[in-house]
């Protein structure tokens, strides 16, 4: 039986509740109003909802309590907020929904959005995006900053939201479905390169936590753990979660992009073959 208490938020964040409600409502409203040829199929809708719900669960249920008082669960929380959740959301290609809402923004609203468009182009630059992606992980895991973030409610929420937003930006840059051949979207080669490059510093950071002898993150000692666990075990598990799953996410992303690049390569080949009168 599911423990219903588990579903209640540990620390209610109205901003977070509102953001998730608006996202799901906005998606659900647009979906039946899209033309059938651009409406996402069941699998894509499912992927999107799972991605959103995963992020919700780690932010607004009892999971958040454990994430505040156990280092390795905190690392699991960031794995979902920065990697798995945004990965699924970007993979589900919510572009038609975004276009639907963008078409309904008034000209005045568009002027208001213009600074955001400029900021978006800056953070999605192929050099800035990976630096930001890895930089945020390093920043929040820098021991003095991590200590403060776990003590201050405001910093804690800033940390989690910054990870989620950056995760969405990064994985969207990776999985943007628009063809690099016909649009300004990033080329597949560059995307694969970025995924490989960001994996390395994450592996170094994770491994350095795993193999560190002393306690790097002692805030969990100060604040009490959710249940009695040896601090070394907690830190070891947290290090492993920083090291291995993110590297696997990079590899998974590379495989998906290779598949997409292969399809893109085959299409002109098929076309030219047909043009020459040969059946492929």
């Amino acid at each position: 039986m599911i423990d219903l208490d588990f579903l209640a938020p540990y620390d209610v964040s109205p901003v977070t509740l509102m953001a998730f409600a608006l996202t799901l409502l906005g998606y659900g409203y647009a979906l039946p109003r899209l033309s059938p040829d651009e409406r996402p199929g069941r699998l894509r809708v499912f992927t999107f909802v799972i991605g959103v719900m995963l992020c919700y669960v780690v932010m607004q249920t009892r999971f958040d309590y454990y994430a505040q008082y156990m280092f390795f669960i905190h690392r699991g929380q960031h794995l979902i907020l920065h990697h798995i959740g945004p990965f699924l959301i970007a993979l589900s290609n919510p572009l038609p929904i975004l276009r639907f809402w963008h078409a309904r923004v008034s000209p005045a609203g568009r002027r208001w959005l213009r600074p955001f468009a400029v900021a978006y182009r800056i953070v999605q630059h192929p050099v800035v995006a990976p630096v930001l992606f890895v930089g945020l992980i390093y920043f929040w895991l820098w021991p003095p900053v991590h200590f403060d973030a776990m003590l201050s409610r405001q910093l804690y929420w800033t940390m989690n939201w910054s990870m989620l937003i950056d995760g969405l930006l990064f994985w969207w840059l990776m999985f943007d479905p628009r063809s690099p051949a016909t649009t300004a979207a990033l080329g597949h080669g560059k995307r694969i390169l970025i995924l490989a490059v960001v994996a390395i510093p994450q592996m170094i950071l994770g491994a350095s936590i795993v193999f560190s002898r002393g306690m790097v993150y002692d805030v969990y000692e100060v604040c009490g753990r959710a249940w009695p666990m040896a601090p070394e075990t907690d830190q070891l598990l947290g290090g492993l979660l920083t090291w291995i799953p993110p590297a696997m996410m990079s590899i998974l992303g590379i495989l998906l992009l290779l598949r997409r690049a292969m399809h893109a390569d085959e299409q002109p080949a098929i076309r030219s073959a047909i043009a020459e009168g040969n059946t492929p």
Binding site: Y10, D11, S13, V15, Y65, Q68, Y69, V145, F147, D148, M150, L151, S152, R153, Q154, L155, Y156, W157, T158, W161, E221, V222, C223, G224, R225, A226, W227, P228
Partner: protein, 199 residues
């Protein structure tokens, strides 16, 4: 995020590494990181107690339980030693608030006899589990209970830190007595008392 701007400011200061070039502390400076002192609990006489009743004093907030085998008595003894080393005029300006997170076993009488052992300026208090959860969440700490043994005894996990609030109730320092000699605690308390003379 009730004050996103303030959060951003704290973040920027943290980034710049210049968060207040003020005095050096042995403990961890938690100014602007944690909320002001506020609680409504039950004291060792079974009466309601709030933070306002000790306003104007420097308050040391510590979570523990009276059956605690080592950490709590050591910490309370260290605090007593640090306070005793202060000038006599400052001593009475400092109050230790001992919050038991084990209300099941810590009755008011038990709390009273326990805190008496650690000096006059120690106030023992506890509350319902909901009250205690609210207070520990406010100061971003937690507590938990182990499985009881055959005699019904059980361990309680709790914060090992002491939260220091100044005379106006603002959160100022996080002391970690298990890695900090009483002399350093004394220095920090004296510095804090000097900073805001009693009104």
């Amino acid at each position: 995020m009730s004050h996103p701007l303030r959060a951003l400011l704290v973040l920027v200061l943290a980034l710049a590494g210049c968060s207040d070039p003020g005095p050096d502390w042995h403990g961890k400076d938690i100014r602007n990181l944690m909320p002001d002192l506020a609680f409504t609990l039950t004291d060792a006489r079974g009466q309601s107690v709030t933070a306002d009743q000790t306003a104007g004093k420097i308050r040391l907030l510590y979570f523990g339980y009276t059956s605690c085998p080592d950490v709590c008595p050591t910490t309370l003894a260290d605090l007593r030693q640090a306070v005793r080393a202060l000038p006599e005029t400052t001593r009475d300006d400092i109050v230790t608030l001992f919050v038991s997170v084990d209300p099941e076993r810590d009755s008011p009488e038990r709390l009273a006899s326990y805190v008496r052992f650690f000096g006059d300026n120690v106030i023992g208090m506890t509350g319902s589990l909901t009250e205690l959860r609210d207070l520990t969440r406010r100061y971003r700490t937690t507590f938990g209970y182990d499985e009881p043994d055959e005699h019904g005894n059980y361990d309680v996990s709790h914060s090992s830190a002491v939260y220091v609030f100044d005379r106006s109730g603002e959160a100022r320092l996080l002391l970690r007595p298990n890695s900090m000699p009483p002399g350093q605690i004394r220095d920090d308390l004296e510095q804090l008392a000097r900073e805001q003379p009693p009104s």
